[in-house]
Amino acid sequence: MSDQVSVTIDGKQARVAAGSTILEAVRAQGGDLPTLCHSRHLAPHGACRLCLVEVEGGRPVAGCHTTVRDGAIYRTTSERLTRLRRTILELIVSDHPLDCLTCRANGDCALQSAVAAIGLPEVRFAAPRTHHPEPDHSHPLLHLDMAKCIGCGRCVRVCDEVQGSFVLGLAGRGFDVRVIAGNDQTLEEAGCSGCGQCAVECPVGAIREAGRIGYPQREVVTTCAYCAIGCSLVVGVGDGRVVAVRPLEDGPANRGHACVKGRFGYGFVHAEDRLRTPLIRRPDGSFAEASWDEALDLVARRFAEIRDAHGGSSFGMISSSRCTNEENYLAQKFTRVVMGSNSVDNCARVCHSPSAFALGAALGTGANTGNFEDVEAADVLLLVGANPTESHPVLGARIRQAVLKGCRLIVIDPRRTELARLADIHIALRPGSNVAVLNAMQQVLIAEGLVDRAFIAAHAENMEALEASLVGMTPEWAEPLCGVDAGTLRAAARLYASARRGLVLWGLGITESCQGTVAAFALINLAVMTGSVGRPGAGAGPIRGQNNVQGACDMGALPNVFSDYRRLDDPQARADHQRIWGVAPPTQAGFKTPEMYGAARAGALKAMYILAQDVAQSDPDTTGVVTALNSLEFLVVQDLFMSETARLAHVVLPGSSALEKEGTFTNSDRRVQRVRQAVPPLAGLTDGTIILEIARRMGASLGFEPPLDAARVMEEIARLTPNWRGISHERLDREGGLRWPCPTADHPGTAIVHEGGHFIRGRARLTPTPWRSPLETADEDFPFLLTTGRMLFHYNVGTMTRRTAIQRLARAREERVHVHPLDAARLSIAEGDRVSVISRHGRVGVPVTIGEDVGPGILFMTFHFPQTRTNLLIGPGADDHTLCPEYKVTAVRLEREGIPEAHG
């Protein structure tokens, strides 16, 4: 074979891939070379020179960056190599403390291992010049002890080549080269994102996770429970507690990377205020601790009474992306089989229900058409309403790398996010004007002949209707609606159309709006019109917000579908379910979450069971939600903590975190991955077991006896879910993740759906996307538009992250409203001043931060902080098709709150 070369390594002939390095060749033959500066996640660096090998007829060369030469004869050991390696180690050790036994890296130090392997009889330098910088423990998550630094640059390179934050640098020259953060600042001052990858790469004890000492007693591989990237993590356990988390080197979604939340956000598992026993509300409104038997019996009795008295439609279940696929499956089965109701929904309602709806309607299935690897294959990326470097940091980092390697980037976002700053084109549109922008882009594609007519003719339908609907929606038409000049809109459309592999990714900035579904249709139209779908690097899809929001929907925790999005009125689906469930599923359509609240307020819904979701904080129109929950005859809330929602419950059941249970999650690119128990459930029962217990005590059967055996549940899921038929725990344990569709036990899973334009629904449907103004518009009384989103260090309402070490980071401590400098100057507001943000629906007090990440007239807040409760500001507006709330645009005004607080 021409792509192989023949080499001799230590006397043995071998054929190795041409272009591979000597190090790779040696490793491929089962050998190894000592290295300190090398990492397989980084480009070869050639600095430590320990990997020198002898080459017959020449000088020694470094194995890590020298490529193999056909016919070459290499030796990995020789007297000379040992001498050279020892001298190099002697040089390193001459400027390295010898406190190995008390070093945090003891036993986990590549220098220690290399010295042990190669041997170092003595250090022969008398009174050598050395470096003794003081340790820097200012960062709550990462400790620096640069006296131990060996100058390999791996931390700097991973901050560049993987994370792309460019926080760390190697400053100075020669012997005095040192690792710096920012302008010689602390990590926090320098804007470190806390991904901790530097600590993973550090071969010695110079950068370590704070607090970590000694080996964990055991390690468990599981899937991250924060965002929907689905990072594989290795959880270290000691004395029954989670003591460390690191990314799995070969994690299929994360490839050895993780973010600050995944790596450092585990402390909540052992938080003092975790619920440890069930609680039953006393008549006086206070809660009494109860045994599991008392609580579960009460829940079973009341659910049965209400069902029997008022019928199944009086019951509603809100399931959760925090729960596993198996638990979500059981939640909807419980609702349908035991309670006789279809009123089951999950938190996708308030995030990506429009994406799922639009993708399902237009293409045939409500999920991402491609996968995260597309980011590396795409030549143009259109990123809309998403801020992945903060919300999905591992994906964000990958996008940043792709852009720096030449992928063109268009960002549509009101905020000047990090990726917007890097973008070729940033459309800083007015919040609420997505559809105006996207219609203008569609119009340009059509008007300028930039659509792929052949693809449309072969694979799409309804083009005429779409074209007709877009007449007149020129960039000039959109300009006054979105506040972006027509030329920029036109350029963006042209750039997207110029792609050979165009990728559209969107976030909640698209969906959480009264035109969420329409905007999603518009994005799908762009992809279909240009034929940019169903190929590597070409596709369209949402970046899901939560770990298992895809799975919660896939499992049928939705009021209108069974698992696999099979319609309730699909005769085959009904027959299948009746056969396996043993009962006929209810026929009456269920309520969506906001409809449940309405029904509760109207008295039609009597009982609710809410899993792992703090709807009284996370959902909009908070007052309405609280009224609804207070109207219920019986409310069961299952959560880790006494949440705002739990306070309203009649029975509070202690939930279990993802680190406490077995099962699976499905990430944003449809990859089903295992969740494994690292520590036992704190209160004794997992969420799935609790559901089974309630059913059992109601005299019903869900087909499984408690405690939950998740693998058995997956077997039933596979039988009822055609696209999951080939998925089992046994396969997942053996092969890692599997991306659905995976219809048979020997199917490898599907990286790209609709491949080659063969859409699941047959032809892709192009859908007209009529524009209408947002419900919330600025006026004299409410002159600002507030948009909301996440920040890097927190997750959703902060229930988890606020109970971790992450909370100690200065930037993570409190909510701030972001104001443009011009607005701040006009209102005489200074950094840190407290203001009231007042909408037509509520008011909150919050300090100000001033910056150009928002444009004039626009404000930004997160919703992570219960003491601020940003969602009090959000109105009842919602997407027409899915009732997804309009979180992303609210008209507000700012008022100064007295005099600024004294600093310090």
Binding site: V167, G169, L170, F175, L422
Partner: protein, 560 residues
């Protein structure tokens, strides 16, 4: 490290400029505030701006070696043996330590010792130092003329290729657009590029920067390598950092059009659309003369290829081609991995011919007279002539053009007239501070790549510094290793730490003598530097030490 920062800079900073360029435009010393402001205004990572600044002496916000002191006494070997250290000490006494720094080297080794005052150079003996003191104290301008290196015309009948125009000019400087125009370029452009390359291949010309790589083969490789965006570059390496060498300096200052014409010929040969001259900071006159010359060429429409000057900022390593490229790309100029070689993937990832100035200046002659004519000069394997620069331990120091193969003895004792009064020849270091130091016994070897290698020497860049019986070779060795340590980029471990340990050990040996134990450590260090280092700086750093161990055993025994 780091294609990403190059790409990021391209996205954030307009006009193809880099952190290196922006820092170079800052007037006055680079303070912390400057770094923070630059980072903020451009969006570039503060770390990046700072690491670039700290890498270069002239941009460094804190470094004490060369920057910020208005007076800088040259500490190249020629100046040191001629009294540079004493001169520096006396100036420190008169002006205070803050005002006086050192620099390596100002390229006036035939007039040593010299010192710089701002951008002026002053001969340091007697009146020069007094005038500098007065200038600092009272602001009185210098009245002394700038010292110049003598340029010697070859004897009649000896080949004169490179010095031809300057020795013909009454001023010794062939400035102004040449009367003959760019005749060689015109001939080159009348030929297909392959034919130009063939002519250069026929000449047998090898690079004059030290490595001796065949120039024709390099240009052919650049022409043949695929370019990611179609661009190709020619870079003239005028980062002549070797102490003792002033060859490229004189070429650029006295006949700048030969260099530009050479660049344009090379660009035509390899298909480059841009020629860049990287000029070391210590050569301000060369910079302004070249700038003027480029304007002349552009005004005459002779360019046909974009020409650009980049000013170095004080880092010896930039003479190494991968470092030089990284410097132009705006990165800290640490040595890069090879392969890929710049000819395949150089500046901005494009095929790039990095050539020494003397090499490029030779191309016009070859194009005018043909490669075969050039090959007839010199010796097989080392064709043509070589410029050599000589320091003022010799009677007639300065710049000479000698035919390859000329014995060293003839150069030093014939052409340059032997040692000055009262001095006996002790040693000669050829090829800069990393070159071998050879004893008198080696002087019968002829000038050439292989012939010098055969006696453990290197032709290097052609700078020669002669030492006499007055000069302390062991102290010299200490200084050379200290120089290597100071200029190490810090990327590879052997050089980063090894040069410092070797420097410490040499100081110890100079103080306390060479014991067998110390010799074993020294030899291990030399071996590790030579075989383990990533680039030539660390790899060559032990050369003078090893040659002193071989040829001058007596200097080591002195205090043992």
């Amino acid at each position: 490290m780091s294609r990403n920062l190059v790409a990021l800079t391209g996205r954030l900073v307009a006009g193809g400029r880099t952190a290196f360029d922006l820092l170079g435009e800052v007037s006055g010393p680079v303070e912390d505030g400057v770094i923070a402001d630059l980072a903020r205004s451009t969006g570039l990572p503060a770390q990046h701006v700072r690491t670039v600044a700290e890498f270069y002496d002239e941009l460094s916000p804190t470094d004490g070696h060369a920057s910020h002191a208005r007076v800088r006494v040259c500490d190249g070997e020629a100046c040191r043996v001629a009294g540079g250290d004493g001169l520096a000490d006396s100036l420190v006494e008169r002006l205070g330590g803050e005002a006086v720094g050192r620099v390596t080297c100002l390229g006036l080794c035939s007039r040593a010792p010299v010192l710089g005052l701002d951008t002026r150079v002053v001969a340091g003996e007697g009146e020069g130092a007094n005038q500098v003191v007065a200038a600092i104290r009272t602001g009185r301008p210098l009245s002394l003329p700038e010292p110049e290196n003598a340029v010697h015309a070859p004897a009649a009948g000896r080949p004169c290729l490179l010095l031809r125009r300057m020795v013909a000019a009454p001023s010794g400087r062939a400035t102004g657009f040449p009367a003959e125009g760019y005749a060689a370029l015109a001939r080159a452009r009348s030929m297909p590029p392959e034919a130009v390359i063939a002519e250069i291949v026929d000449s047998g010309l090898r690079g004059r920067g030290g490595a001796g790589f065949p120039t024709g083969a390099k240009l052919a490789a650049v022409a043949a390598a695929p370019s990611p965006d179609g661009r190709r570059f020619v870079i003239a390496n005028l980062d002549e950092g070797d102490a003792g060498a002033f060859i490229d300096k004189e070429l650029a200052e006295r006949d700048p059009h030969a260099l530009i014409e050479g660049i344009l010929i090379a660009a035509h040969a390899c298909g480059a659309g841009e020629g860049i001259i990287y000029v070391r900071h210590e050569y301000p006159h060369a910079f302004s003369i070249l700038r003027h010359a480029i304007e002349e060429v552009v005004a005459r429409g002779e360019d046909g290829c974009a020409l650009r000057l980049v000013r170095g900022q004080g880092a010896y390593i930039c003479g190494e081609e991968t470092s030089l490229i990284r410097s132009i790309e705006g990165l800290p100029a640490t040595a890069g991995l090879r392969p890929p070689y710049p000819a395949e993937a150089g500046l901005w990832g494009c095929p790039t011919a990095v050539n020494n100035v003397e090499t490029l200046c030779t191309l016009p002659w070859i194009l005018r007279h043909g490669g075969a004519a050039y090959a007839r000069i010199g010796r097989p394997g080392s064709t043509g002539t070589k410029l050599v620069s000589l320091n003022n331990r010799l009677r007639r120091p300065g710049l000479y053009e000698v035919e390859m193969g000329t014995p060293l003895r003839e150069v030093l004792f014939g052409l340059a007239g032997g040692m000055i009064e009262g001095h006996r020849f002790r040693a000669v270091q050829i090829g800069g501070p990393l070159g071998a130091i050879l004893p008198e016994a080696a002087l019968d070897v002829g000038l050439g790549f292989e012939s010098l290698a055969a006696v453990g020497g290197t032709l290097g860049h052609g700078g020669m510094v002669v030492f006499s019986d007055h000069d302390d070779l062991l102290r010299l060795a200490c200084g050379l290793m200290a120089f290597a340590a100071r200029e190490s980029c810090g990327r590879c471990f052997p050089c980063r730490i090894g040069t410092v340990r070797a420097s410490e050990l040499l100081e110890r040996i100079a103080e306390h003598g060479l014991t067998p134990g110390r010799e074993a450590v020294l030899r291990d260090l030399c071996e590790t530097l030579r075989l383990g280092s990533l680039c030539g700086l660390g790899g060559m750093a032990p050369t003078p030490i090893e040659s002193l161990l071989t040829h001058f055993p007596d200097i080591w025994r002195r205090t043992a």
